[in-house]
Symmetry: C2
Subunit: 223 residues, 2 copies
């Protein structure tokens, strides 16, 4: 039973790593679609989201099979449940990338963002994608240190997100309410995406080490 | 084993029903705190949120115990996993109520909402709370029909949420950007809360019947 358990757990981890790549790619393309008003790219992200949903269902099936056939207990059981939670967060990250792509489609051919906030979103997008790619790395290489380093990136997203609010709420904001509303929602999508990435990485540290890291990943209150 | 399994599953369902009451109360009080600029009530919701987090941890422990000691398979296994997912959604509903309470605290003693949008939030709040209370009812009475009826309430929240966007984006909006930003986020909190409530109820139908209802509860795109 022990060997079969480890082979199946390895399969499940591989699927989670693949999902991390999917949602990293989705957010990368969604951000580009938004910044470049690229409708075709936005449509691609939108239609590819079902693949993420399928991958999540696939991870859950793998986890069910593992639980049903191996009936793990103690830490082994917690590891499988952590993987199930991770798949749920990864699916949610895919949804958030989808929301960004939909914003790009909704405003097309107009740009979603005025010139003076583009930089914030290209930065948040780059960090968010890096977080998802690091999650993949944590899973594939079992590099627990990489997981710990993600906290800093997440803090940076929170800082940009907070700053964004001060920009759109400033007295000299000249782009009107509809643009401010778009930016408010988009900022939140990136912030949540980064939170989920950190939460997945924490769970993955647990999956590969059997121990939950001690640092906090509570949702930030940068609203 | 079968009897012990059912006793433990019953305990877990009771805990989930109790959590539904907690998050219904939280959203009810958070909405009142926001509408009445009641700082004390807001603080109460904020400090009580840890109880919801504790309840979720408790549900997970109960589920772990059930899996480890009874090693259920097939439908029984899926039922336990559905309960774990439901606990996660309920905790998230608690977080969303917390966000509403924090908005009330942040703007105190000023009202968060201008007069002309209060009605939308008092309606969304009432429906959201009703949804959470119906979730409790679904769990306690196994009234599957009550779960199905929740779809309609969720649609209503989506309608109000969509309408809210047209109000704040209208040319004659006179309350400025910061208020529009608050309303954008608050609207999203209620909309997500309702989505989670429906998702919990669907999972509960599965927990009490062993069959997943066929209707959809995908996140609405009312953004």
């Amino acid at each position: 039973m022990r060997e079969a358990y480890h082979v199946e757990l390895e399969n499940l981890a591989t699927k989670l790593a693949d999902m991390s790549v999917q949602v990293a790619d989705a957010m990368e393309r969604a951000t580009t679609a938004m910044l470049d008003s690229d409708l075709e790219l936005a449509e691609q992200v939108i239609s590819d989201d079902t693949l993420v949903d399928d991958a999540r269902a696939d991870c859950e099936e793998q986890a069910y099979a593992l639980l049903a056939l191996q009936a793990p207990v103690a830490t082994d059981l917690r590891v499988v449940l952590a993987a199930i939670h991770a798949a749920e967060s990864l699916e949610r990250m895919g949804d958030l990338a989808l929301h960004v792509a939909k914003a790009a489609r909704r405003r097309h051919p107009d740009p979603v963002l005025p010139q003076d906030v583009r930089k914030y979103f290209s930065d948040m997008g780059a960090i968010a994608v890096r977080l998802a790619r690091r999650t993949e790395q944590v899973i594939r290489t079992r590099d627990v240190e990489a997981a710990r380093s993600m906290e800093e990136d997440d803090d940076q997203v929170d800082d940009i997100h907070r700053h964004l609010f001060s920009v759109i709420m400033a007295k000299d904001w000249e782009h009107g309410v509809p643009t401010a509303v778009d930016i408010t929602l988009l900022g939140r999508f990136y912030e949540r995406y980064a939170d989920h990435a950190v939460s997945v990485a924490r769970r993955m540290v647990f999956v590969v080490t059997g121990r939950m890291p001690g640092y906090s990943s509570a949702e930030s209150d940068a609203v």
